[in-house]
Subunit: 330 residues, 2 copies
DNA sequence: TTGAAAGCGCTAACAT
DNA sequence: ATGTTAGCGCTTTCAA
C-alpha cells in the first residue's frame, strides 16, 4: 500500500480511503489512486484490513449437505449474493455427527466471520443456544429452523392450494430432513402443516406427516410407511426432489397408478422432477439463499438489530406435470 | 492473548507457541496454558495470526456446481480434510459465465489463501494460465483438468473391465461436464478413452464419446444423439449419476431393453443409481476430495514443490446391479 | 480534503 | 525453555 501511495503521490491513509470508497476523498484523487492501484495490480490485504478495521468481510455458511440440489442451489444463491457484497464465504460442512460435534465444540467462527448463515441444518436446542451466544448475527434457512422458515411454508402453500383445487382432501406430507437426528422442534412443523391444511378447510392427520432423509431411499421408505396403513392419502407432497423421486418410483413399483390413484407434488423443482414428470414448485432455491444473505447483511450492517421481516419468496411457482390429477372417485 | 498470558503467568510468546503446538515449550507449561485458554474461552485471532505469521490457513475451493451429488461429495471430502488440518475453506462458485468472468478478472485469492483447489471446473487456457501465476499452489480435480485427472480414469477402467468381462466390445462413453463451455483440452479425454479401450483390445469410435451436462436432461440428450445413428454401442458408461439416470430413462422410454439390448454403468454411485438399479462405480468421490487436499497441503508445506504423485483411488469399486448384462447375441 | 501517528493481536528473531 | 522486541499491512483518530 505504501508503494501505491508513493506512486500516486499521496499518503497511505488516502489510498485506503480511496480504495474502500470512504468519503473524504476528492473525486479526482480517488480516480487517480484507483487507476494507479489497478496498474500495480494492488489489492488490499484482507488480514491486515480486518485486523485494523475490526470487520472481517466474511461470513460462515453452515450446512449439512452439499450435493443435494435444493440446498446446493440455496448455497449457490447465498454465495453469489455474498460475493457481490464483497464478503468471503467460509464453508462448514457438518454432515456427520463427528464433524458436527467438533464444530459446535470449537465454534471456530468467533473471530473469523461477521455473520453466520445456517442452511439445511436442523439445529438442536443447545446448538441453537451456542450460536445465539456468538457476537455476530445468525440467520437460519430451512426446515425446522428455530429462527424462521419463511420459504418452505410458501412452497407448501402453493402445493396445497394446487391439490385442493384438484379436489384432494387427504394430503400427506413427506418432509425431508438434512440430518438424521433432530430436536423436539419437529413439533413446530407439525403445526405448520396442520395450520396449512386447516386453513384450507381440511383435517390433518399426524400420521400423514412423515420425516425422511432427503434421498431417493428416504422417499421410498417414507411412502412405504405411509401406504402401509389402512387410511391412505390421495395426494403426497414431498419437500425434496430426491425423496419425491423415491416416492414416485416406489409407488409405481408397488403397483400404484400415479396420478390416477395418487398425486405427487415435489417442492423441489429440478432436473429430476422435470425428467420424471413430477409436478413441482420451482424456482425458489437460489432466491432463498440470496434473501437470507440480505437479511444477514442487514443485521451485520445495523449491528445486529432485529432482522427486518421480508416478504415470502418471489419467483416460486407451481409447474404442473404429469404427477397430479383429481383424486380417484370414492 | 495478553490476558491468557497473564493468567497463566507466562509471556504472550509462550502462549502463542503452546497453543499452536510449536516446539520449544515444556509439556507442563503447554498443558497449563492450554487449560487456561480453554477456561477463558480464548481462541487465537486468525487475522492477526495471519498478518504476523504470513500463513493464512485458508484455501480457496473453486467449483461450478454445488448441488450435484458427485461434486458435492468431493467438496465435502475436501472440506473435511481441510478442516481437520486446521484450514478454512473459502468457497467460490463460478457456475455461470458472469460469476466466472468476474472471478478470473478479480482473482480475489491473491492474498487471502495458501492454496487453491479447483473442482469440476473445466479450465480454459487463459484461466489455467491466470491460476498458474498465483503465488500459491493450485490443485485441480476433475474431468479434463489440464493438471491431472487421476480418478476418472480409474473408475473408467473399472467400468470398462466389467463390460469387457461381460463380452462387450462396443462401448460408448458419456462424459458429463460441469460447465457448458470448455477449452480444447477436451481432446485429452478423447485420448484417455481411446487408450483405455485400446488397452482392452477394443476399437474406439470418436462418435461414441459424448459430452453432456451433468444432469438428467444432459443424459437424455446424450443418448438421443448416440442412438440416432446406425452403429449403436451395446454398452454405455456415464460419468454422472444424473446423466446415467437420464440415459436410462430415455432409453426405456424409447423402447430399449436395459440391460438386454444395452448395458449401462454409472461412474457415480449414489442414491439415484442405487434406487434405479444401475450398476455403478462407487465410493470414490469423498476420497477424491480428501486426496486432492493432501496433495495440496503437501505442496503448501513444501513451498510449492512439485506435487508428489499419489496412487489412484482407493476404495472405489464396481457394484453390479440390474443395468449390465452380456451384449445381445449378434 | 489530506497526512501523521498510533495501534489492531499476533508471530518470529533474538536474547536470556 | 522462556521472555523481549519488532514489526506484519492496514484503519483510524487527530491535526493541519
Amino acid at each position: 500500500m505504501g508503494d501505491v501511495a508513493r506512486a500516486a503521490g499521496v499518503s497511505a491513509a488516502t489510498v485506503s480511503r480511496a480504495l474502500r470508497g470512504e468519503p473524504g476523498v476528492s473525486a479526482s484523487t480517488r480516480a487517480h489512486v484507483t487507476e494507479v492501484a489497478r496498474r500495480m495490480r494492488y489489492a488490499i490485504a484482507r488480514d491486515a484490513s480486518s485486523l485494523a478495521g475490526g470487520r472481517r468481510y466474511a461470513v460462515a455458511v453452515l450446512t449439512t449437505d452439499v450435493g443435494q440440489r435444493t440446498w446446493g442451489d440455496v448455497l449457490a444463491g447465498a454465495e453469489g449474493a455474498l460475493r457481490a457484497s464483497g464478503y468471503d464465504v467460509l464453508l462448514y460442512v457438518v454432515g456427520d455427527e463427528a464433524a458436527r460435534a467438533g464444530f459446535f465444540e470449537e465454534l471456530p467462527l468467533s473471530r473469523r466471520v461477521d455473520g453466520v448463515l445456517v442452511l439445511s441444518v436442523r439445529l438442536r436446542e443447545h446448538e441453537a443456544a451456542l450460536l445465539r451466544e456468538l457476537p455476530v448475527p445468525v440467520v437460519t434457512v430451512g426446515e425446522g429452523a428455530a429462527d424462521d422458515s419463511p420459504d418452505l411454508p410458501g412452497s407448501l402453500d402453493l402445493a396445497v392450494r394446487h391439490l385442493v383445487g384438484l379436489g384432494h382432501r387427504d394430503i400427506a406430507l413427506v418432509l425431508a430432513d438434512s440430518t438424521a437426528a433432530w430436536s423436539s422442534s419437529a413439533e413446530d412443523l407439525d403445526e405448520t402443516y396442520q395450520e396449512l391444511l386447516g386453513s384450507a378447510g381440511l383435517a390433518s392427520r399426524p400420521e400423514w406427516l412423515v420425516w425422511c432423509s432427503p434421498t431417493v431411499v428416504g422417499g421410498e421408505e417414507a411412502v412405504a410407511a405411509l401406504f402401509d396403513g389402512q387410511d391412505r392419502p390421495t395426494a403426497l407432497i414431498a419437500s425434496s426432489g430426491e425423496a419425491a423421486l423415491g416416492a414416485f418410483m416406489r409407488l409405481r413399483r408397488d403397483g400404484w397408478a400415479v396420478p390416477e390413484q395418487l398425486s405427487i407434488v415435489s417442492l423441489d423443482g429440478h432436473d429430476i422432477a422435470r425428467a420424471v414428470g413430477l409436478t413441482a414448485v420451482e424456482g425458489a432455491a437460489r432466491e432463498q439463499g440470496e434473501r437470507a444473505v440480505h437479511r444477514l447483511l442487514a443485521r451485520i450492517q445495523t449491528q445486529d438489530a432485529a432482522a427486518p421481516e421480508l416478504p415470502t419468496p418471489a419467483g416460486a411457482a407451481l409447474v404442473e406435470r404429469g404427477s397430479t390429477a383429481p383424486p380417484p372417485a370414492v
